[in-house]
């Protein structure tokens, strides 16, 4: 809303996030420039000032050329870059760039196809371990100069050749970003799964981050990178994670592959000596305290730490589905998720479900994942019978409560927690997932209560008392757990009375969840076992009885600080110290947001400062300082050990410190930039017969395919295809293709077509439209087609499953599939 320019790429915001897009339209009416770059012309494009058609999978070339231009024409925000980013930091002398190694960085092990040694990507350091810098940005090994070399081949000519975008169009976008960034102006970048669902998705977002850091658009009003996430609480499921590799608040799940056998080892390998993550001892210890209560005190927390299950590899959903296929996973719990139609390569997913001994499906409707044992997709909207007598999987299908039938928080895409009150009871035997998990836990604790085995101690010790004091008034369900108690545990509470002296037995009185005082926020958390906290970043959401800030609904002010609660500490813009210059003054009056108040000697503004509130801008850390004291008063990026915005990532990414263009795992062209064709660190699962890939420039699969959402349906349809209102608006699956491709393949608008990939074939109605256009790539014409992915064989509107076409090559950092850029073929059915 406060942006002067908005670049939307990898997202069809108008159709997938229509209400948020209203803000973009308002900004446009105020004079902001809106740009949309996408393979598919959509309502977002129609309302943009500039629409650029591009080839799916070529994003880093476009963005890399912007970076190249910013660096070479000195169009970056110099003062911001020098002070707030790691542009001046020197990288080790033995670092090898993709320029030196034909598309690979140093440290790549071809045998394991991983960057097993990332030590060369690190900073050059002095004897104290502090990074060396050159504020003049001239040193050949400073990040700035390394970037100049790395992005040298990302030229406008390359954009034209690889993306199919004219140099003029690319320049217009670049120039618009430059003109609308700086002291007086800010630009925002919005993306969605058009970026993430690629085998190099993380690096595309990194490229956007580099642009925004170079232009000084991070931590400022109207700036930033907006991840448009797709589900009501998908952010919440990441923060208080149901993800295999994370504990609450972005602490890693312990792994057996790193030295993390003890709590001390865990802290030293996942925490940091300097910066905000130096607080990890307090956060992990408080989590253990919340989970295991008294038992967490054994060995100062180490005993219960050892109970936490350790990872031994990639246990992500998709990697696990291969394990399932091999019969290694025997039981499966599905909570409102539908892999039989919603996950990539879903034909393989259905086959995997057949290998299970048992599964639990909790949903409002009988979704595909509960019905695969007697039904499968037929032609188009038809279904076919399955021989059930050959499928062993035992299935428990439990009815679930809808969002209006339970209370609790959703966390939206802006990290905002919003509480929902309960309207009515769920029907029949439908129950909330909270009810299910709570009572399942109760029963399991009972079943294991007599065990003396060490493996069962964690479950026995697990604190598990969420009973309501009194049943909910007016509800016929008398054993629904108390959601507010769970929120209290997430927020955190004191385990012992403050300032209490041990009694004569040498033991302190310990509170239970029900009677414990709330902690006011994460600053109160301790590493000595005196506090419990389920997720440190959410601490402060429920700071005292009767004050659930997620349920606060006061719609006032510029930043609406009393509407819901945004983590951390109700900050609305992260790293907002960067909205002031190094001396703490607003960069400009028009973009004033958070600044240093000289009189009061503290940071102030229209948002909660994301910075130690009393640290003056001119603070210089003493030698040997640790924790937050190690950051200067002009280091806004408090989560980073060096307090800088990372243009170059010295640690933590699995596919390189700088974004590099690789072609998609399936591509009609060879990589024009490097010998390395596709992301070297991606997980290909090449020997899997269920996941065959088309070759590069494969004549059988010459067409690029991308998938997307429609406004009227939601993912694979469990929440929409049972609803006549929405089915009337979007009745069936279609494939969008250009008139040129239609003519080439003799396809008529509206008739059935077959789309094929090495994974399978599906049918859809042809939608011949100018919204898709052929592009000239590396001297040849490349066609693209687009498909929504909302259909399946259950519900009141049925159709082929688009995900049956997609493959399962996974991005190396986050194990996401590549559903936004792969290859296919298309032909008419002629019935």
């Amino acid at each position: 809303m406060n942006s002067d320019a908005i670049l939307i790429m990898g997202s069809n915001m108008a159709e997938a996030h229509p209400v948020a897009f209203a803000n973009v339209v308002q900004a446009k009416e105020r004079g902001a420039k809106v740009m949309h770059i996408d393979p598919h012309y959509s309502r977002t494009s129609a309302l943009a000032n500039i629409y650029v058609a591009t080839r799916a999978g070529s994003d880093i070339v476009f963005l890399g050329a912007v970076i190249h231009h910013l660096l070479e024409t000195r169009s970056y925000f110099h003062e911001y870059v020098v002070h707030f980013t790691n542009a001046a930091t020197l990288i080790r002398g033995d670092f090898g760039d993709t320029e030196d190694l034909e598309g690979l960085f140093s440290g790549f092990d071809p045998k394991t196809e991983t960057y097993s040694d990332q030590s060369t990507w690190d900073y050059e350091r002095d004897s104290e371990g502090r990074p060396l810098t050159d504020p003049t940005l001239q040193h050949p090994r400073c990040v700035f100069q390394i970037m100049r070399r790395h992005f040298a081949r990302y030229t406008p000519e390359m954009v034209e050749e690889v993306c199919g975008v004219s140099q003029d169009q690319w320049f217009l976008v670049t120039q618009t970003l430059i003109e609308n960034s700086g002291r007086e102006r800010t630009s925002a970048i919005c993306y969605a799964v058009g970026w993430t669902q690629q085998s190099k998705g993380v690096q595309i977002i990194r490229a956007a981050a580099i642009i925004q850091l170079l232009l000084g658009n991070i931590g400022r009003p109207g700036g930033g990178i907006m991840a448009l996430r797709g589900h009501a609480s998908i952010q919440g499921s990441t923060d208080v994670p149901t993800l295999y590799d994370l504990l609450a608040g972005y602490m890693p799940q312990p792994s057996a592959l790193t030295p993390q056998q003890t709590l001390d080892e865990y802290i030293s390998t996942s925490g940091q000596k300097t910066g905000w993550w130096s607080n990890i001892p307090a956060y992990i210890r408080s989590l253990l305290q919340a989970w295991y209560g008294e038992a967490a005190n054994e060995e100062d927390g180490n005993c219960s730490y050892r109970w936490l299950p350790k990872m031994i590899g990639d246990h992500s959903h998709l990697a696990t589905s291969y394990e399932m296929l091999d019969g290694k996973v025997r039981g499966y719990l599905l909570f409102g998720q539908n892999p039989a139609a919603g996950s990539t390569n879903s034909r393989m997913q259905r086959k995997a479900l057949e290998q299970l001994d048992w599964m639990v499906v909790r949903d409002l409707y009988e979704v595909e994942s509960a019905a695969f044992w007697y039904k499968q997709p037929g032609f188009g909207p038809d279904t076919e019978h399955v021989d059930s007598s050959k499928i062993k999987t035992e299935i428990f299908l439990l009815p679930a409560a809808a969002s209006t039938e339970k209370e609790g928080c959703f966390t939206n895409t802006q990290r905002l927690l919003q509480w929902r009150d309960k309207a009515v009871d769920p029907p029949g035997d439908a129950r909330s997932d909270l009810w299910f998990v709570y009572h399942l836990g109760r029963r399991l604790k009972e079943l294991y209560s007599v065990s003396t085995e060490s493996k069962d101690r964690p479950l026995q010790a697990l604190t598990w008392d969420y009973d309501r004091k009194e049943p909910e008034p007016g509800s016929r369900i008398h054993d629904e757990p108390d959601t507010l108690l769970v929120l209290k545990e997430i927020n955190g509470y004191y385990v012992h009375p403050l300032n209490q002296v041990d009694n004569e037995m040498g033991r302190q009185h310990a509170y239970k969840l029900h009677d414990a005082p709330h902690v006011p926020g994460f600053a109160a958390l301790k590493s000595d076992g005196s506090t419990a906290c389920g997720s440190w970043i959410y601490s402060g959401v429920y700071p005292e009885p009767g004050n659930n800030r997620a349920a606060s609904r006061i719609s006032e002010g510029y930043t609406f600080l009393q509407w819901g609660f945004s983590w951390p500490a109700n900050r609305r813009i992260l790293y907002n110290r960067a909205s002031a210059d190094p001396q703490g003054r607003p960069w400009s009056e028009s973009k004033k947001y958070v600044w240093w108040d000289e009189e009061q000697q503290k940071w102030t503004g229209v948002d909660v400062p994301d910075f130690p509130v009393n640290k003056p801008p001119n603070y210089i850390p003493p030698v040997g300082a640790v924790g937050m004291d190690a950051h200067s008063g002009s280091d806004p990026f408090i989560m980073k050990p060096d307090g800088k915005g990372w243009l170059f990532v010295p640690k933590g990414l699995k596919d390189g410190p700088l974004p590099t263009h690789y072609e998609a795992a399936e591509s009609p062209v060879h990589n024009a930039l490097y010998k390395q064709q596709s992301n070297p660190a991606a997980k290909y699962f090449r020997n899997r017969p269920d996941n065959r890939l088309a070759a590069v420039d494969d004549p059988d699969y010459p067409i690029v395919i991308t998938t997307y959402r429609l406004t009227e349906h939601h993912v694979s349809g469990p929440m929409t295809r049972w609803m006549p209102w929405l089915n009337a608006l979007q009745p069936s699956l279609f494939a969008e293709l250009s008139p040129e491709l239609a003519a080439e393949r003799n396809i008529q608008h509206g008739e059935w077509v077959i789309i094929s990939t090495p994974r399978g074939e599906i049918e859809a109605r042809a939608m011949v439209t100018r919204r898709m256009q052929p592009l000239r790539i590396s001297g040849k014409i490349v066609h693209q087609i687009g498909l929504p992915f909302h259909w399946g064989f259950q519900g009141k509107s049925t159709g082929s499953i688009t995900n049956d076409l997609a493959h399962m090559v996974l991005e190396p950092n986050v194990s996401i599939e590549e559903a936004k850029a792969f290859t296919c073929n298309i032909r008419p059915v002629r019935m």
Partner: protein
């Protein structure tokens, strides 16, 4: 929230130009005394504040409840996110929750069976707990062959949608990971 006006009230409340426009072609309003007494369905309904269950924008909803039933769902005009507006999905939330196709009983499909059987919730909960215990006990690994401690089971996996509440996610991870040692606890948030 302001009530909608009945047609009779409209005449007195809308500026005269609109009134005139409405009267084109007919000086007499075609409202019977019955229709002028009609009131909106949501009058006297309890308003419950909620949030849209679809995308991640987080539009505020007003859920109208009368006689223990949801009778309508609209956008919350007070929300700074949506100002009362909704997209087609959000506007259809009513039909998502009040729908004759919803499951209301536990269904069980035995191995190799060709049909569902209706079961009690209590029976299903006990069976599920038993299955989890059995599989966990048979697949639990304390240490790798080289002695590294793992305390986990890879024999059970969990996958959740991203319409789960924060509190639900929290208890899931706590029980499945912290209590049972399951590693593959995953969510739509991954993909």
């Amino acid at each position: 929230m302001q009530e909608r006006l009945s047609p009779a009230e409209l005449e007195f409340n809308i500026p005269s130009i609109v009134t005139q426009a409405m009267q084109v072609g007919s000086k007499t309003q075609p409202f019977s005394s019955e229709s002028s007494k009609l009131v909106t369905r949501i009058r006297d309904a309890k308003v419950v504040h909620s949030v849209c269950p679809y995308c991640a924008v987080g539009c505020g909803l007003n859920v109208y409840v009368k006689d223990g039933r949801v009778i309508d769902i609209e956008g919350n005009p007070d929300s700074p996110i949506n100002h009362g507006t909704l997209c087609p999905k959000g506007a259809a939330t009513f039909q998502y929750t009040v729908n004759p196709n919803r499951l209301t009983h536990v269904l069980h499909r035995a191995p190799f069976s060709d049909h569902w059987e209706v079961k009690s919730l209590d029976w299903a909960m006990e069976q599920i707990a038993q299955r989890i215990k059995q599989t966990r006990d048979e697949t639990f690994v304390k240490s790798l062959p080289d002695g590294r401690e793992v305390n986990h089971t890879l024999g059970i996996a969990s996958l959740g949608g991203a319409t789960l509440d924060v509190e639900e996610n929290y208890l899931m991870k706590k029980l499945l990971s912290g209590g049972l040692g399951i590693v593959s606890i995953e969510n739509q948030a991954r993909i």
